[in-house]
Symmetry: C2
Subunit: 202 residues, 2 copies
């Protein structure tokens, strides 16, 4: 299809498609003339992934990293997950104290030394923000959090498709980036439900 049809099919404007081509997010079409190229379903699928990432607030630079991991699949699904996490984890510049994070991670049954260091640092930064604000999470509540994320992760990883590396990468990358806002939004709904039950609806 021509770029104008690609635009109609995906709802992405022609100038935006050209921008993604220049930025290397979208691969070139098959050139049919000096100023014309032919695009196919692979471009449609890729554009949908790009839009989903950008719409979720992921920057163009991060989107490029994620897209790259779609194009160059590393060895195992476990490595893919590490690459996906590394691309999308918010990174801080300051040093954080990893000890408390490592303790928590041990409670999930994992050796922190084997865990991707950016992931451990993410937990450490979150704990540090809570500590700076003097916000205490009780042992009981933390146990609920750990249990909930373990259930979620078990169900998610059990669903990783293994028929192709590309399918696995797509699943772990999008599952990380796109499911996060869903989980946070659902938590807010569930909090309003629980609060209405405890305190009345206002």
């Amino acid at each position: 299809m021509r770029i104008s049809e690609l635009s109609v099919t995906t709802g992405v404007s022609v100038p935006t498609i050209k921008y993604y081509l220049r930025e290397g997010l979208l691969f070139e079409g098959r050139r049919t003339a000096a100023t014309q190229a032919d695009y196919d379903d692979a471009h449609v699928r890729r554009l949908r992934v790009i839009r989903a990432l950008i719409d979720s607030g992921v920057s163009v630079a991060k989107t490029r990293e994620v897209i790259r991991s779609l194009e160059e699949p590393p060895a195992s699904p476990h490595d893919l997950l590490g690459a996906a996490h590394a691309a999308v984890i918010p990174r801080g510049d300051e040093d954080v104290d990893l000890a408390a994070a490592e303790q928590l991670i041990e409670r999930l049954g994992w050796q922190p030394g084997l865990c991707h260091e950016d992931v451990v640092a993410g937990v450490a930064r979150a704990l540090q923000s809570l500590q700076h604000a003097d916000f205490d999470i009780s042992e009981d509540l933390m146990a609920v959090y750990l249990d909930a994320v373990a259930r979620i992760a078990d169900a998610e990883i059990a669903g990783v498709p293994t028929e192709s590396a590309e399918a696995a990468v797509r699943y772990v990358v999008l599952g990380t980036v796109l499911v996060e806002p869903l989980l946070l939004a659902l938590r807010r709904v569930a909090e309003q439900v629980a609060s209405a039950r405890r305190f009345g609806a206002g």
Copy 2:
């Protein structure tokens, strides 16, 4: 204490404290001279809340909204939660289709019409991103998500302190803003744990 001591106690620089005072995030100290004021523990606590919000990536404008809800507590803890959510929920400008979000919310046992509309729209936007990316969440996995967030919310709301409106607001505001990065970071750890179990560590 003087502003220099406030700075040492909280680790926030004097120019930054003055900026928060100008921006109305921090309330003025008790004036003791034309160019001097006296600060107390309430300023220390407030500064810690401000730093925690800003460090979590909340903008100055949003921080002001959250701080305002700390200063003008509405009627019930349920209303406070709504105010906290409204202040910190990422808002989109485009219209979203609420139908799928409302169905999900009904599965949490709630009437969507009674739920804060920004919260419903947040779920709708997350579902829309998934749909745009052609990313399907199975019924089984969605059931795990709903069950997990319901457990989390029940435990959180059971812990809302009721001794004062300020304590309740602080709990729901910080619990929303600061616990989100923790839950996402823990989910990533749990995913790496589960993936190492399923696929081997690489």
